[in-house]
Symmetry: D2
Subunit: 114 residues, 4 copies
Amino acid sequence: MENTKYESLIQTLWNCALACEHCATACLQEADVTPMAGCIKLDRDCADMCLQAARLLQRESDIALQYLLLCEEICRMCGDECGKHEHDHCQQCAEACRTCAEACHAHHQQITQS
Amino acid sequence: MENTKYESLIQTLWNCALACEHCATACLQEADVTPMAGCIKLDRDCADMCLQAARLLQRESDIALQYLLLCEEICRMCGDECGKHEHDHCQQCAEACRTCAEACHAHHQQITQS
Amino acid sequence: MENTKYESLIQTLWNCALACEHCATACLQEADVTPMAGCIKLDRDCADMCLQAARLLQRESDIALQYLLLCEEICRMCGDECGKHEHDHCQQCAEACRTCAEACHAHHQQITQS
Amino acid sequence: MENTKYESLIQTLWNCALACEHCATACLQEADVTPMAGCIKLDRDCADMCLQAARLLQRESDIALQYLLLCEEICRMCGDECGKHEHDHCQQCAEACRTCAEACHAHHQQITQS
């Protein structure tokens, strides 16, 4: 949608948000939800943060780039927690979070070095 | 903030959203999270719906009044589920949801009859 | 992300939200913003509504299908308004909104008939 | 709602978000919208950021305190821009933004010194 500069990063953020929403829902459907509490908590924050990051980039917000630093952090936290669990939805979410954390990081590096 | 017409309803929606956020967090900290899964799932939706309703009213959106009907429904569902659990956070959330459902309903009635 | 049932609809909602965010930003950068006020106002609501619809579908919310009805309506309103303006961003947004309104409608029809 | 620690800050963030939503809507209704474009753009970001900050605090998110630093910044930017305009809604919004920026700052100071 005409925002070619950040198109790939926006899509990565969106994929991460979807993975987190799915993981939280699937965690809540596990036979034993108790060990998944940490995942669900972080999935909730990570989905919110990634969606907001994508919107800020798409609308060319003055705060978007700084937001990516924070987004990277929640993605790392969520990826670390989900990575501890063997459920497919957790492993997929962990992968999406790590990819997203790296994309946020790479983008921020690129900006501050130019 | 200069939106006196809906001020009370907006505040009720906000209170409900806060109660849902708190209830979800507290449910995730219970010793046994499994029986709370339904609460957490509905708290998540209800918080999102109430916050969006409040924003739409505050910004005088053309879709705000229709949105209240849907908001009433999720508040009833969330209130019913939370009402089944004896934890303080669930009982408080159930109360906030019921108050909010009634406020949405009353407001919608008033509009469609005028 | 493992939600194959609604994957296409979720993507359509996301595309519409991005188009609305971009259109609002571009409207605010026009030489004369005054005639774009209606677009900006509806873009704001439509972006919020479509994003929330996508999240509700992805998380398999009990309220997701009803939400689509309301989402269809705001998409039609936003598409009608944007369609009146000849700027590329408005025409693209109008197209995204109409596609999204039809996708919401088709999906709802399919559900209520089955 | 049982989150007494951050209750006042959460309310300040909420008041700021409402002021921004109202200001954006009122700006869009001015006879000449063009000079208000900067306000509308920042109101949109500031409302989103303050609401998310309030939710993160209420849900005791691990990222909440860092988020306040970013929230302070967008509040300052929005307050500065709105403060340039004499409309009541802009002046009220500027005041709400400055109060909120200071509350975010004070809270962050307090935490990092303890």
